[in-house]
Amino acid sequence: MKKIEVSGKKPTRHGFGEGLVELGDKHDNVVVLGGDITGSVMTSYFKEKYPDRFFSIGIAEANATTIATGMALSGKIPFFSSYSAFAAFRNTDQLRISVCYNNANVKIGGGHSGITVGPDGATHQALEELSLLRAMPNMTLIVPCDFSETKKATIAVGEMYGPAYIRFGRSAVPMITNDDSPFEIGKANVLNEGDDIALVACGLLVYPALQAAEQLEKNHGIKARVINNHTIKPIDVETITKAAAECGCIVTAEEHQVYGGLGAAVAETVVKNAPVPMEFVGIKDTFGSSGEPEELQEIFGLNWQGIYASALKALDRKKPGNIAV
């Protein structure tokens, strides 16, 4: 496989902040609502440039979500952002009925998501939003893999109609895409070709999936197809089905519970269209814990080693006669 090109590290939340400003430049009906932590989720950039289109709502996520709905139903494109722990959970009813049932054009930025928020601990490590929000009709769900993709995703959700949730993180992650990389909502990107196994990842785990592919080739001559599945909903049925049919086994990887997130979305597609053995890298029905981001990634197996180990298991199960293991 070709060498993975990394151009430094940057937090995805900065991509969200910059994307909002660019959207604001292009569309004067884009407005932003703040939930007190604007400097953490980087809506502060927009606040600075467009103070008249920024509204501080305070620590009141439910209220912010329904205020956003009112604005959306009056022709604006409101973005509300807070930590995922509160921007998907404190306002779940509001998201279901006011936003999704109304099919209101409300966008949510879920920041500081996953275990990599680190020392804050379990209360702040949102690991369930994808399961929750994927079950809501009309919702678009995006988990970009790096700074540049988050910026593009932010602009793309602003320019599509309907409810959308973008999930991003706190810590700096390797930049593996750039301005020229393709990004289209609902279209997964194949980052590395291969037909022994497919590694389907989103967010923070896309880069480790590439690293795992590198190791699989180096150590075993295995050619892994690496898919950056940034859109969790609507899932890219064509790319996933093709990967299952051509590779014969799949590993999914996400910084999220394995119940209901990316792995589940991929499994539903695979089971219906081209059943093959699958392994799931993610959080296995436990809460998080205080710790340093990389330390926690290692403990929970959310790194290339975790993906690599799961890949070997999936490959073993793919062997004729082993399918039921």
Partner: protein, 292 residues
């Protein structure tokens, strides 16, 4: 630079004291906060420092009734920290009351610790009554406990709970206020940390919550205002709550405590920027110099 501090081994009894003794205890709590946060390299410094005077009276002034060697004592008063991020001051009080070894304060926020970044029941730290971290939920849990003690089990246990002022922006907090009045929870003592600071700046600029006294009065509370850094005033406020409970007034109490974020460390005082940052090693040394 490796950040290493040692903690004194002072344990404090829970008894009536002279004001000066509380001031010394509060200073010890502040030193603990500075040291544990500097070692954690992340966390919330300003709020806990501002609460140290109130906590010194609450935990070590015969206000909260507890037995550190019997954390589940069935007659204990409860303390529910609603603003979970403020836990460093609670951890310090619990350690100095004897709930767990004081050295454990050096493990704050590290992997495997019982002193999580926000409290949880999963790590079984003695003295913790509930998880907290999503603002606004603790006060409602406190009301549920107060209802249980007063209406179901009919014990004289009291429930103390602390919210920030920014935290009062959560609408559910006011649902709790309604319930507390409806069910006449005179055994509930709600402390508001009125420091006029939250992450984005002044509370009145982010989303105004004032006037608090009139709001709580309208909700049917026994409203007590106090200077959260004046020991006599704090003692007096808790005495008023206890008298209110013992008289069976049927009114829940709120103590609106005027405090300053970062109190005790000159370069942190009244600065919202110290809401969620730890001191560097150098800043910690400077702060400890001031807290001698």
């Amino acid at each position: 630079m490796e950040t290493k501090f040692t903690f004194s081994d002072l344990l404090f009894e829970n008894k009536r004291r002279k004001p000066q003794e509380f001031a010394e205890i509060a200073k010890e709590l502040r030193r603990d906060i500075i040291k544990s946060l500097a070692m954690a390299k992340s966390g919330h410094t300003g709020g806990p420092l501002g609460l140290s005077d109130i906590f010194s009276v609450l935990f070590f002034g015969d206000v909260l009734r507890y037995k550190a060697d019997d954390p589940k004592w069935d007659k204990r008063d409860k303390f529910v920290l609603s603003g979970g991020h403020l836990c460093p001051v609670l951890y310090s009080c619990l350690a100095r009351a004897g709930y767990f070894p004081i050295e454990e304060l050096s493990t704050l926020r590290k992997y495997g610790t019982r002193l999580q970044g926000h409290p949880g029941l999963d790590t079984e730290l003695p003295g913790i009554e509930t998880a907290a971290g999503s603002l606004g939920q603790g006060i409602s849990i406190a009301a549920g406990m107060a209802m249980t003690h007063k209406l179901l089990d009919k014990t004289d246990q009291r429930v103390f709970s602390l919210t920030g002022d920014g935290e009062l922006q959560e609408g559910s907090v006011w649902e709790t206020a309604m319930s507390a009045a409806q069910y006449k929870l005179d055994n509930l003592c709600w402390i508001v940390d009125d420091n006029d600071c939250q992450i984005d700046g002044r509370v009145k600029d982010v989303m105004n919550i004032k006037p608090l006294d009139k709001k709580f009065e309208a909700f049917g509370f026994n409203v007590i205002e106090c200077d959260g850094h004046d020991i006599d005033d704090i003692i007096n406020a808790f005495d008023k709550f206890i008298a209110n409970h013992e008289s069976g007034s049927g009114k829940p109490t709120v103590i609106i405590a005027k405090t300053f974020m970062g109190r005790g460390v000159s370069f942190m005082e009244d600065l919202h920027t110290w809401h969620g940052n730890p001191p560097s090693f150098e800043q910690a040394e400077k702060a400890l110099e001031e807290l001698k």
